[in-house]
């Protein structure tokens, strides 16, 4: 009887004696890579035996590198390439085989390998970042991956700066589920979850966000990069619906989106306008799109004139957009949305590219608009210079599972007490991850706020 060790020994003898040197090198390097990755996965808090399975290797390397998407693509492409090679070998034994099919499969396999390689380079770069090493290591990874894998995996000198292992966090698993009240006036947001599916994997982008915003309030939206600010705003205005109930002035936004979309002004971060149009033409076209048909041409013109006056654009009404200054362009971008006099006005970094004085003027104009009973939500990365103009602040933060969560919503003054910080920028710093230069206290505040809300609802 042939035992398993005997079979392995025979196979090894065969490989070493019969196979050509390239095959021997490929097999030995594959084994060394597995050994190296075994150590890396162990250091990163992942299951080390995943290193032994081809394709799963790439997947888990992506996770270890904090680049799961890239790892997934690399793994899928490697799997595709392998399947194609096997398919080619199988087809060769059948009557369906032809030279053309062989060439086609070969080309497809090479393409898949190429894509896999590109994505693997991205994963290597992520891994280098995790281990805090120089980027030139990527050359070594690319040429002889098993060598750096062995070094990083088994030498004590190389340690990851942070672990990719899932943190057993209380905050990530605690939800307040305290629904905000739905009133006739104002904006109520009860967002249970906002998910996205990538490569068949469900990802939570936002969870458990509940709030009520009063009419006439100007609200600051704070959060580190990737916390889900824009996703939250898109969910609020119904553009990218979430599993949520959003009610504005007693009407469900999602159910009545077609009617209510004109009652929401969303000013994107970039000044997305056509440079070939004049200021006046841009606003007239915006009016034609946004104002109801009941408005005559004269009424539309009058509204455009009015808005141009409000935003100080009358002197440049005949200028082409491409000729405007940064501040004028920003004001025009806001004016385009303001033309329909929306009840909910959302602005994504309206002060980007503006100096302090111009930014202040802009926010003062927004304050005036809010004072007319409108709700204004603003994202800005330099809030402290205009913080006196805001009523409330929403703080979004990523929990340990990288899901956007509500760390605070309420008046500005109470926010200072809640976070123990005087300045808004310090609040952002406190919730940012350590590797982003922050204090890494997001989970602490998410849990604290969830408990407060839970207590309130209880």
């Amino acid at each position: 009887m042939t035992t398993i060790p005997q079979t392995i020994l025979r196979s090894l003898v065969y490989i070493l004696l019969e196979a050509d040197m390239d095959s021997v090198y490929s097999m030995v390097s594959a084994v060394l890579l597995m050994v190296g990755l075994y150590g890396i996965f162990r250091k990163c808090g992942l299951k080390p035996w995943h290193a032994l399975i081809p394709c799963v290797q790439e997947l888990k390397m992506g996770e270890a590198a904090g680049r799961a998407d890239e790892g997934r693509v690399a793994a899928v492409m490697r799997a595709v390439s392998t399947v194609l090679i096997i398919l080619d070998a199988v087809l060769e034994l059948t009557p369906f085989y032809s030279e053309d099919i062989d060439i086609l499969i070969g080309v497809a396999s090479v393409l898949a390998s190429l894509v896999s390689m590109v994505y693997l380079v991205r994963v290597y770069l992520g891994l280098i970042e995790v281990f805090g090493l120089r980027r030139r290591w990527v050359i070594l990874w690319f040429l002889v991956d098993w060598f750096p894998a062995l070094l990083w995996g088994w030498l004590k000198k190389y340690q990851p700066l942070w672990s990719a292992a899932e943190i057993k966090s209380d905050a990530a698993n605690f939800f307040s589920n305290s629904r905000a009240a739905v009133l006739d006036q104002g904006l109520t947001v009860n967002l249970e979850e906002r998910t996205a599916t990538e490569f068949f994997k469900k990802k939570y982008l936002l969870r458990d966000i509940h709030m009520y915003i009063q009419p006439g309030h100007m609200v600051l939206l704070l959060g580190g990069s990737g916390a889900g600010k824009t996703t939250f705003l898109n969910a609020v205005n119904g553009y990218e619906p979430a599993k949520a109930e959003v009610v504005m002035n007693g009407r469900n936004m999602y159910k009545n989106y077609k009617d209510m979309q004109y009652d929401i002004g969303f000013v994107p971060q970039l000044d997305l306008m056509r440079g070939s149009d004049s200021v006046y033409r841009t606003l007239m076209d915006a009016a034609a799109l946004r104002l109801p048909m009941e408005f005559s041409k004269e009424q539309r013109q009058a509204r455009v004139e009015e808005v141009m006056d409000i935003f100080g654009l009358t002197p440049v009404k005949s200028n082409l957009v491409v000729k405007l200054s940064g501040g004028q362009r920003k004001r025009l971008s806001i004016a385009m949305e303001f033309i329909s006099n929306p009840t909910l006005f959302i602005l994504d970094e309206p002060d980007s590219g503006l100096d302090g004085v111009m930014a202040r003027e802009l926010f003062e104009q927004l304050r005036k608009i809010a004072d007319q009973g409108k709700i204004i939500i603003v994202i800005t990365h330099t809030p402290d210079r205009v913080i006196d103009l805001f009523d409330d602040v929403i703080v979004l933060a990523k929990d340990a599972k990288r899901t956007g969560r509500l760390a605070y919503y309420g008046p500005i003054s109470e926010a200072r007490t809640f976070f123990g910080k005087d300045r808004m920028e310090e609040i952002v710093k406190s919730i940012n991850r350590t590797e982003e230069g922050g204090e890494g206290r997001a989970d602490e505040f998410i849990l604290k706020y969830a408990e407060v809300q839970h207590g309130r609802s209880a």
Partner: protein, 430 residues
């Protein structure tokens, strides 16, 4: 369509639903934007570019298009390339360069169908202007268009309609590529592949391997070339390449050493045997020759009544009895190929010298002279043209209209999938 009606809110209040601009009225807004873009953003540059390209192509095809088979095919291919090139460059960046703007405007109530419809109208006008310019430049370059058109009264108009359809179809294809591209760099990366596919797999000029021939059915260029080649009368023109090659060989010598036996063997070959009944000399020719050259002796074979049944029938005495009026009607063979072959094979002196070597050499120009250069030219051109006859280039209204119809379908298809692609613009990753 936008509607104006009263709807009940979820709290029981009556809220007036506002009526906003519908699809058709949004088209004018976006058409205006396109036209302003044409003026202010230098979109007009595609017009002189089209004229320059037409001039370059005109220089190449002007002496051959509508003249011969090869010229017609190359002209059709070249004009299709021009049209596809123009169309592709018109719109390849049209959508992707303003993709974030479209996304913003879509959020504000813009209908994608209106946006694409505006593009379709604007791009049609652009293609029309380019085609007009191209035809005008080709006429200036003295491309010899036949005066009378095949479908319309003027041939330039016929060709113009085809070129407009090709340009517009390529334009819509590019509009689609632009619609699925997120950046201008992405669009410009895809476009060469689309162009190469269109030109290589057109199935007109470049021979394709068998497995890939069906791919040409999916190219705009295939139908463009078919329509243009049909209109240029491809099948009606002579093919000149073979004759030109022969002409280039005019001073070359042909021939070599051959044995007499080999020559005699040729007499047994099937082509010769198939022509045994071919009359080499008939009684009428003989009479005329004898009349002209009195005193000339009759060939021995022809005079011998025992040479064969045909030879007997060709007895000149019989012909003489019937009188001159019936001479033409009673033409009888005097010498056939079969008779000649048989007599040569039975000739003992020839058989005895089978191994004798002859050196046969002649210049190609001597052969031209022997067979008559003009006759040979016409024969070669006609025969090669017949060998290259293509049914799909048949000059018929049905064929041309059929290709126009397919090009029209391409236009609608690409416009439709552009709309579908843009409807997903909200799913763009931020």
């Amino acid at each position: 369509m936008a509607e104006a009606r009263e709807v009940a809110s979820n709290r029981g209040r009556k809220i007036r639903r506002m009526r906003h601009r519908g699809r058709s009225s949004q088209v004018s807004i976006y058409l205006g934007k396109q036209l302003r873009f044409f003026i202010n953003e230098n979109d007009w540059k595609v017009l002189p570019m089209a004229a320059i390209i037409a001039a370059l192509v005109g220089m190449v095809i002007r002496k051959r298009f509508f003249i011969n088979m090869e010229g017609s095919l190359i002209g059709a291919f070249a004009l299709t390339c021009v049209a596809i090139w123009n169309g592709c460059f018109n719109s390849i960046q049209a959508v992707c360069r303003e993709r974030p703007i479209i996304k913003r405007e879509h959020r504000s109530g813009m209908h994608i169908t209106s946006y694409v419809a505006a593009h379709m109208i604007y791009q049609f006008l652009l293609c029309l202007a380019q085609t007009g310019l191209t035809i005008y430049v080709l006429m200036i370059m003295q491309v010899r268009f036949p005066e009378k058109g095949f479908i319309t009264p003027f041939m330039p108009l016929d060709i113009g309609i085809t070129m407009l359809l090709i340009t517009y179809a390529a334009d819509m294809m590019s509009l689609f590529l632009s619609s699925i591209s997120h950046t201008t760099t992405g669009a410009m990366t895809i476009m060469p592949f689309a162009l190469i596919f269109q030109l290589v797999f057109s199935g007109g000029v470049i021979p394709l391997p068998e497995w890939s021939q069906s791919l040409s059915d999916f190219t705009i260029s295939n139908y463009g070339i078919k329509a243009l080649a049909s209109q240029s009368g491809y099948n009606e023109r002579p093919m000149v390449t073979a004759w030109q090659t022969l002409e280039d060989m005019r001073d070359d010598e042909v021939g070599g050493d051959v044995t007499l036996g080999r020559i005699l063997d040729i007499l047994d070959s099937k082509p010769v045997q198939d022509r045994r009944d071919l009359v080499l000399i008939d009684s009428t020719w003989l009479d005329q020759t004898l009349d002209m050259e009195e005193g000339t002796d009759l060939p021995e074979e022809a005079a011998d009544p025992s040479a064969g049944p045909e030879a007997g029938a060709a007895d000149p005495s019989v012909s003489a009895e019937t009188g001159e009026a019936d001479a033409a009607a009673e033409t009888v063979p005097v010498l056939t190929v079969g008779q000649l072959v048989d007599s040569l094979k039975e000739f003992p002196a020839l058989q005895a010298n089978r191994d004798r070597i002859f050196t046969l050499k002649a210049k190609v120009s001597d052969l031209f002279e022997m067979f008559g250069e003009e006759n040979l030219k016409q024969l070669v051109q006609r025969k090669t043209a017949e060998a290259n006859y293509k049914e799909e280039y048949e000059m018929s209204r049905t064929n041309i209209a059929g290709n126009w119809f397919v090009l029209g379908l391409y236009i609608l298809f690409f416009a439709l999938i552009s709309v579908i692609a843009l409807e997903f613009i909200d799913k763009d990753k931020r």
